[in-house]
C-alpha cells in the first residue's frame, strides 16, 4: 500500500507542465490526488514520473465572463462549494459538490481532476454534461477547446491526447431565475452515487417549460443527456404526470450490473431521481 518509485516534478506554469508531460516517458499528472493517490498506493497505475500541477497558479481560480463560468482545472472542489459568485450564478454546482466525497477530499480534490478521472458515477462530469461545458486544454501543439460531449469519450476515458492537459472548464450560465436540482442516491453520505440526476430549466409566465436540460450519471460508461425527455418536456406546463412520463424514458438506458447494484435497480433509481429532480427544479424556476 505504498506508491511505487517515481520521479517527481513540480512545474510552475502550464507550458512547463506540458513540456514535461511530452518529454518524460510514462509520465502522469497529479492534481488533488484523491483518485490518483489511491491508485498509486494500490499500484493500479505505475508511472515513471509524476508531474504535480499543484504549483501551477494560472490553473486555479473562478471567474465569470461573457456568460461563462470559467473554472481553472486546479481549482479545489472546496473553493467552488464556498464561492459566493458560483452560488449566485450557478447554484446547481454547490448543490452537487456537497455530495462529492467528504470535507477532507474536497479540500484537496480539484474540478479538473474529477472531469479527467471521469468516474461514471461522479457528480462533476454529470454537471458538465447538463451544462454543455467546454474543456480548454494545452499541449505542445497549443490550446484547444473540446465540448464535454466529445471530451467524455468512453468509460473513464477522455479524448485528451497523451501529452495534453485540461486547463479550465467553461460552464455556459443559465439566466437568473432558472430552476435547478441535483439529486443522487448513495448508500452512505459521500459515497459514489448509484444514480444521479441533474436538471436545469426555465419557465414562462404561464408555467410552461421554455428551456430544459437533463443529465443522468451512474447509468452508463459516461454521463448521458436525456434528449428524448428534454424534447417531450419543452413547451409543456410542468406537473406530476408530465414528469413521471418523462422519467419513463429511462427505460432505454443500459446500465451494467456491478457489486453495488444490479442494472435493473440502477435504472429504476435513475427514473426516480430524474422525476424528483424535475419536480424540484420546476418548483424553483421563476415564472418569467
Amino acid at each position: 500500500m505504498k506508491p511505487p518509485a517515481f520521479g517527481y516534478h513540480d512545474p510552475q506554469t502550464v507550458s512547463a507542465a506540458v513540456h514535461l508531460l511530452a518529454s518524460l516517458p510514462n509520465a502522469r499528472v497529479l492534481a488533488g490526488g484523491q483518485s490518483l493517490m489511491p491508485m498509486l498506493n494500490m499500484r493500479v497505475v505505475l508511472p515513471d514520473h509524476l508531474i504535480d500541477l499543484n504549483g501551477v497558479a494560472e490553473m486555479s481560480g473562478v471567474s465569470i465572463r461573457e456568460g461563462l463560468l470559467v473554472i481553472g482545472a486546479m481549482t479545489r472542489q472546496r473553493d467552488i462549494e464556498f464561492s459566493d459568485s458560483v452560488m449566485a450564478h450557478c447554484p446547481i454546482l454547490p448543490e452537487a459538490l456537497l455530495q462529492v466525497g467528504h470535507r477532507q477530499t474536497r479540500n484537496r480534490g480539484t474540478v479538473g481532476g474529477s472531469l479527467c478521472h471521469l468516474d461514471p458515477s461522479a457528480e462533476l462530469p454529470c454537471l458538465a454534461a447538463v451544462m454543455d461545458a467546454v474543456i480548454e486544454t494545452a499541449s505542445p501543439r497549443g490550446r484547444r477547446q473540446i465540448t464535454f460531449a466529445d471530451f467524455a469519450s468512453s468509460y473513464m476515458t477522455t479524448s485528451l491526447d497523451p501529452d495534453e492537459i485540461a486547463t479550465q472548464a467553461q460552464f455556459p450560465l443559465w439566466p437568473q431565475g432558472h430552476g435547478y436540482a441535483f439529486l443522487e442516491f448513495a448508500r452512505r453520505h459521500g459515497d459514489f452515487a448509484l444514480a444521479s440526476a441533474a436538471v436545469l430549466m426555465t419557465t414562462d409566465a404561464q408555467g410552461r417549460i421554455s428551456r430544459i436540460a437533463v443529465a443522468l450519471s451512474g447509468v452508463g460508461p459516461a454521463p448521458v443527456r436525456m434528449q428524448e425527455a428534454e424534447q417531450g418536456l419543452l413547451g409543456q406546463v410542468g406537473g406530476a404526470d408530465l414528469f413521471a412520463q418523462a422519467a419513463k424514458t429511462c427505460a432505454s438506458l443500459e446500465p451494467q450490473d456491478d457489486i453495488h447494484a444490479p442494472a435493473a435497480y440502477r435504472k429504476r433509481l435513475a427514473g426516480v431521481m430524474m422525476r424528483r429532480a424535475l419536480e424540484k427544479a420546476y418548483g424553483r424556476a421563476a415564472r418569467q
Binding site: 511505487p4 520521479g7 517527481y8 493517490m37 498506493n41 514520473h49 504535480d52 479540500n107
Partner: protein, 167 residues
Amino acid sequence: MTSPFTRTVELEVNGAPCARTINVRRHLADFLRHDLGLTGTHVGCEHGVCGACTVLVDGQSIRSCLMLAVQAHGKQVTTIEGLAPSPGVLHPLQAALHKHHGLQCGFCTPGMLTTLVELLNTVRNPSADEVRIAISGNICRCTGYEGIVAAALEAAEVIAASKEASK
C-alpha cells in the same frame, strides 16, 4: 535541486519547523510517523476511505495517505499531537470525547478530532446533522458514533462559552 527521486522538504509541524531529505514517494502519513516519530496519526486503509490519517494542513483537514510529503513543503501541519494547548491540558474536544465515551480502541480518534477541529473552527454552533456529515468520511468500528456526536456538540458549546467569557 536534487534528483527527481529525493527532495528536501521544509515545513512546520505542530508549530515547530522541521526539514528532512526524503524519497519523493513517501506519503505524508508515513513521513509523520516514520520520519518524525509522530505515531498519533493512524494509517488504516492507505487509500482514502477510512479517515484515520486525517491531519490539518494550513488549517484544512486532509487525508495524509493521499498527499505526498513533498507536497507539504512550506506548509503548516497539525497532527493529533498538536491539539492540546499544553501538557496535561486537553483541547475541549478531547475533554468532551473522554467524558462522552467517544472512543474505545482509539484507532479512529486522531482523524475524528482533526476533522472536528476544522468543523468547530468554521461553524460556531453546528447541528447534530452537521457533525454527522463532517465525520461521514471517518470510519469508527467501536463506538457507534453517538458519543462522538455528543462530544462534538458539547465541545462547540464549551468553545463558544469560553470565547464569550474572554470578550
